[in-house]
Amino acid sequence: MTAARLLLATVVGSILLFLALPIVVVMVVSFSSATYLTFPPPAFGMRWYTAYFTNDDWLRPTWLSLWVAACVVVVATLLGTLAAVGIGRLPGALRVLASALIVSPLIVPVIVAAIGIYYAFARYGLVGTPVGLILAHTCLAVPFVFISVSASLAGIDPRLEQAALSLGATPSGTFFQITLPLIRPGVLAGALFAFVTSFDELVVALFISGSGAVTLPRRMWDDVLYQIEPTIAAVSTLTIVLTVVLMGCAHLLRKRAPA
């Protein structure tokens, strides 16, 4: 290896270590049996996992986050897929505006969106309710579904739809028999992104979860600010595993060529 390559390899290696280190540390600490945060841990054990699984104060927010995310998946995938398919039918200027609106949650800083939603939802009476969370998270998650499905649609040869029509399929028959099966990977990947977005979402939840709809991230945040107890490390590790698995699947789906 030339000197330049060696240098590059060392530099990049260190940076990658930098990237991986915090996560690895958290996962290691979660197995610590000490009562305070220290690294390396003096001994190992499952104590913080036990603390998590036996504590209702942790399990309730977990369940809430899981089923809010599940509802968000259903709503966001449905609305987002229909929109991605239908947006092509709109005339030029309208299509640009519509796309901008759908994608805007990616551009507007989350804090601004959070307080705006809080402002309005307080009036609607949706603060502190799971329904409010579902509605807000859907708006935040839908851009990912929209972009994922749109990318899938763009990859479909338009002549396939023409061929189907020429062979006698109705427009809706074409959609269900040809288009939908071909965009399935994009829809699934979008659904996975939606789940993870909702499950991990914190900023909006800080404002609108109130006391009646405390999500898991919100619970972790409260804990972090008031006491640094390694239970959070255990919870973090579990969420890391969950989101990595889901996002990994989504990543593989996007790589796969249409069936």
Partner: protein, 293 residues
């Protein structure tokens, strides 16, 4: 064999070879209405408080110019975003380069970039708390090799925030640059060395300039995201270092809606202005789409 009879359907004019588009009821309408009701209208009506509280007025904006707290916070936010962007660029470019130059290691490198990318900001910020605390790994390691006598105060400083933000935003810098590098025709580098250029010269004069669209996209992405960061500064920054997003949250807690709305408008406005300014550069549009993974 008769074709089943279906209701009348018209045709729409599109260019030859584009898909024939049958009219269907506006499929995008449900989503658009949904987002108007639960996103656009809430955010816009909140922002309106900056100009119509108590009556139509621009005084809230005008008073910002003399508002020392705001100015301090704004400059702190801009400065933080700038340093984070620079740091991400310096660290990110070599990683992007190695992704493209070393195809055998690429899957491993990609995983190491994507794995943290996929974990939540909360968890990553917490991880840095663990690392940077008084009994965190950094202090323990430095103590163990006797570089310091007592634990450093890293946590709750601006430095902590910036390091963590660079860590979190690094993938947003690496991916667009790697993408741009990958699109450079490999025969250009071969032509360059065939014409007598050293590897260093080839990099400086061929590769680097051609990767600029990706660099611009990465810089844009990281800077804009850094501007709006809330969780990380709140967890790691300590009470003396406030970013604009933290100030906004504070004001909302104190129910100063007009002030919070004004600050929000400034934040959104700045974000949009920067995006608009840089969007026209080639390749930048692609990067924004990529950032949605």
């Amino acid at each position: 064999m008769e074709v089943r009879s279906i209701g009348p359907a018209g045709t729409r004019q599109v260019g030859a070879l584009r898909s024939w588009q049958p009219p269907m009821p506006l499929l995008a309408a449900p989503l658009l209405l949904f987002m108007l009701a639960f996103y656009a209208v809430p955010v816009l009506s909140m922002l309106m408080r900056s100009v119509n509280d108590p009556a139509w007025t621009l005084s809230h904006y005008a008073s910002l110019t003399g508002d020392t707290v705001f100015l301090k916070v704004l400059s702190n936010t801009l400065y933080t975003s700038l340093t984070v962007t620079l740091g991400a660029l310096v660290l990110g470019y070599p990683v992007a380069l190695s992704l493209v130059r070393a195809p055998r290691c690429a899957p491993v490198i990609l995983i190491l970039i994507l794995l943290p990318f996929w974990t939540s900001v909360l968890v990553r910020s917490y991880a840095w708390m663990v690392l940077m605390g008084r009994h965190g790994i950094i202090n323990e390691a430095l103590l163990a090799v006797d570089m310091i006598d007592q634990p450093l105060r890293i946590l709750n400083t601006p430095l902590a925030t910036r390091i963590a933000m660079i860590h979190i935003l690094l993938p947003y810098m690496v991916l667009p640059i790697a993408n741009a590098l990958r699109q450079i025709d490999p025969s250009l580098a071969r032509a360059s060395s065939g014409l007598g250029a050293t590897p260093g010269a080839t990099f400086r004069q061929i590769t680097l300039p051609l990767s600029m669209p990706g660099v611009a996209a990465g810089v844009l992405l990281v800077f804009v995201l850094a501007l709006g960061f809330y969780i990380t500064p709140a967890m790691l920054g300590g009470p003396r270092e406030i970013t604009l997003s933290m100030l906004i949250a504070q004001q909302v807690d104190q129910l100063n809606w007009a002030y919070a709305a004004t600050l929000s408008a400034v934040l959104v406005g700045t974000t949009l202005a920067i995006i608009a300014a840089m969007y026209r550069l080639p390749g930048v549009g692609n990067a924004l789409r990529m950032s949605a993974r």
